[in-house]
């Protein structure tokens, strides 16, 4: 991890539907095929048209995988963009906009007539390619290579549209030459990387969870659309035919989760994908899975609550919700991937664990992870297997047969001569309803017994930075790469990041990991430090400081670095316990 930020941070901001998305897709593609590392994330309002949405793109010769608050180049597409982004500008920010579109215009803004050029070329939509041309020019990307990508990007469109977009790109390039002359400091020279970045893959968190689910053998998804979890449903729906997936949009989340449990019962491997409010409706189903001992995979993409909250923004506010969801006592597992790549493996693993232990398993993500992406090596799926654990039944089959580890062989109807009987009432080994106090006690213990093996299988925290750390930066879920980059920037040999991608149950050595540090700083994208509480409750190790953020945005690397610096030098910007 580099300690100095050599990357270039480009932010494009405009109304919803104005082309931010197109510029982002095209520009990141061009950057990647030109063998630069690229990262992108977006923040947007809960509306279909209008408002102010922005995308940040970071480019570098080394891996870039986290957002920064700093903006090197801002492209403003409408009047609302300036007030929306101004707080992130510095004296060094190059601000590009079109005088006529911005309303207020100051001399610090470089006027690029995107729409005038587009009009000249015959269609206002070409403004996007002009903007891409300007940015590629500033990044010193070879013009012909960019033009080639334009052609690929618009494959299927009429030839004249492709040519016009290429012309628009070239016009953008010449604007960038003017900017360079005026500002003198361009182009930035990003050293070429020797990595084969062009060979790498780029996908966002939503696609990664979806792909990981397929890798786990997912063949049934039932859900109700809710930001920011819908991307996973959409992704799986597009793969339905190829991967034998049944993708059903349920009438509500209650139906969705009950369908998923029914699907597992009949031999499918089912997923629900939802966000906090939708998950609140699903809770009865989590409890049902607990009682039926049904496998179940729940993808919970967090957004700020309570209630409707900030529908399109990010927060790590639902750990407690997932942890305590569902009435009654039964085992569960909660994964919280720390990167797009981990999202793939967590989703894959969630299916394996759910199937093996016959329990609900959560994949806890958030809007930030869903909507972020960067280049990384191809997932190696060459040794991946899906080995369903269900068994063929014989005629004496008992679904809830008592076993030493609490796991009863799970049959499915239609495979074997036995009958597969499950009941949400307390039941005996044959699933007959009972109120016998001894059977009740046995069954409670049978279900909870699985915790022993689950704990033994738990994923330990990932340690980066100093191996002999005196101070530990503790985080979970989507903040990992942000915290790791901030840690590297601090350049201290007593500092390490402990990232938990499994937050429940915690690995048995968790207390030992924590005790190795004299100072524990827990970093969370929420207001109350839910994970810090869980750590203290589970391990008894006190947390020294909490760095929390709950404005609906993810942490920025530079922002977090500064907050850490203050805490580490004894300032009081952390929330002292």
């Amino acid at each position: 991890m580099r300690n100095q930020d050599t990357s270039i941070s480009v932010v494009i901001c405009g109304e919803a539907g104005q082309g931010v998305q197109t510029i982002e897709s095209l520009l990141t593609r061009i950057i990647k095929v030109n063998n630069f590392h690229v990262y992108a994330t977006k923040e947007y309002m809960s509306r279909i048209r209008g408002g102010s949405n922005s995308t940040q793109i970071r480019v570098d010769s080394g891996p870039v995988r986290a957002p920064v608050q700093r903006i090197d180049v801002a492209v403003l597409l409408d009047a609302g963009a300036l007030p929306h982004l101004r707080w992130r500008f510095s004296a060094h920010t190059v601000i590009i906009g079109e005088r006529q579109a911005l309303g207020t215009f100051s001399e610090s803004i470089i006027d690029v007539p995107f729409s005038t050029i587009a009009q000249e070329l015959g269609n206002p939509l070409y403004a996007n390619s002009v903007a891409v041309g300007v940015l590629c020019g500033l990044l010193a990307i070879v013009e012909e290579r960019a033009a080639r990508e334009i052609e690929k990007f618009f494959t299927g469109k009429p030839a004249e549209v492709i040519v016009a977009n290429q012309d628009a790109l070239r016009r953008g390039y010449s604007c960038s030459a003017d900017i360079r002359r005026r500002r003198g400091c361009f182009p930035w020279q990003i050293p070429q990387s020797d990595a084969k970045i062009a060979e790498e893959i780029v996908l966002n968190g939503a696609e990664s969870v979806g792909m990981g689910a397929l890798a786990g053998g997912c063949n049934f998804v039932s859900s109700y659309p809710m930001s920011p979890s819908t991307g996973v449903l959409t992704f799986l729906a597009t793969q339905a035919r190829r991967f034998n997936v049944i993708a059903e949009q349920a009438e509500d989340e209650i139906s969705a989760i009950n369908m998923a449990i029914g699907a597992w019962y009949a031999g499918a491997r089912a997923l629900v994908t939802t966000s906090g409010g939708g998950f609140a409706l699903m809770e009865e189903g989590v409890s049902l899975a607990g009682m039926l001992e049904s496998p179940l995979v729940i993808h919970l993409a967090q957004r700020p609550g309570p209630a409707t909250g900030l529908p399109t923004r990010t927060e790590q506010g639902d750990l407690d919700l997932a942890l305590y969801s569902g009435h009654g006592e039964f085992p569960r597992v909660i994964f919280a991937p720390g990167s797009v790549c981990e999202a793939f493996w967590c989703a894959q693993q969630a299916f394996a664990v759910a199937d093996k232990y016959q329990i609900p398993v959560f994949i806890l993500t958030d809007q930030y992870l869903m909507d972020s992406y960067y280049n990384h090596p191809v997932f190696d799926v060459s040794s991946l297997e899906v080995s369903p654990r269900s068994v063929a039944t014989d005629k004496n089959y008992q679904r809830y047969r008592l076993t030493p580890d609490g796991i009863s062989p799970r049959g499915i109807p239609g495979n074997g001569n036995g009958l597969v009987r499950v009941d949400s009432d307390e039941h005996d080994e044959r699933a007959q309803i009972t109120e016998d106090r001894l059977v009740r006690t046995q069954m409670v213990e049978k279900r909870l017994k699985k915790m022993t093996a689950l704990q033994a299988e738990a994923v330990p925290p990932r340690v980066t930075g100093s191996t002999t750390y005196r101070i530990a930066l503790v985080c979970w879920g989507s903040t990992r790469l942000i915290v790791e980059e901030a840690c590297a920037r601090l350049e201290r040999d007593d500092l390490a990041v402990l990232h938990f991608r499994q937050v429940y149950p915690l690995h048995a050595d968790t207390a030992a990991y924590l005790r190795r540090a004299e100072q524990l700083i827990v970093i969370e994208n929420n207001a109350t430090g839910q994970f810090a509480r869980l750590l203290q409750m589970t391990t008894g190790v006190p947390v020294s400081e909490k760095i929390l953020k709950y404005d609906g945005l993810p942490f920025f690397v530079d922002e977090l670095t500064e907050r850490l610096r203050i805490v580490l030098t004894g300032g009081d910007h952390g929330d002292r316990e």
Binding site: N219, E251, N258, Y265, A266, L384, P413, G414
Partner: protein, 287 residues
Amino acid sequence: MATENSFDPGKIDIAWCPGCGNFGILRVLKDSLSELQLSPQDVVIVSGIGQAAKLPQYIKAHMFNGLHGRALPPATAIKAVNPRLTVIAASGDGDMYGEGGNHFMHTIRRNPAITNLVHNNMVYGLTKGQASPTSARGFKTPVQVEGTISEPFNPLAVAIALDASFVARVFIGDMAQTKSVLKQAIQHRGYALVDILQPCVTFNKINTFQWFREHTYRLEDSYDPENRAAAFQRAIETEKLPLGIIYRCAQKKTFNENLAVYAEDDTPLWQRPFVRERLAELVQTRR
């Protein structure tokens, strides 16, 4: 009277009140399944919660006894995941029309090939005598002390309005007709609703066996269940309730027939292999 039936679980403790209409429904269902030459391994009975929802506990077959109001979503999913199973969702009027009302509507829209039995006794039994969605106006209970004020839910009219593919009402006092309708419902290709009128001998002193006998009639032999407007006319009759297959719309595609996974064959999902190569290809598309 009792004959050998492969769905008979043998000696078991049944939690229903003596004289309850549920006994008749249990008997007719077991006989219907048996007469249709099905084996217990072919049949999944899904239920919600309530006295009616204990039905699968008393039948030898696969059983999914889920949550209150939630029989239809898992039943739909089970049939979708394994089209070769015969799936029956059975529960009471409170479960299907109250707690599960939303699922009732949307299951009809999906048209999965499942049989939906609703034990309709117009009262809540297990929670001790409150009004159900089908209770008549003025029906007095410990909660509706001045009498029920809401319009009773009309499941048949709702189902026909949604163009359900099979809509029937029977009275458990007429076991012969009940069995005949039930067998047709189970064999029907698509969603089949059978609203079964039954008395609650403990909590409903109004809608008794006698009351149902006096307030129902069998649809005449000449009745054409494929005429939707006429069916709706019958469904909204209140003086005397018609019994039989009120509406049928056979040519509708089922939920499974609309699923891409069954475009070529009906192999259950659990028998389909995981193809790693396809995943590797998919990963490569993100380059």
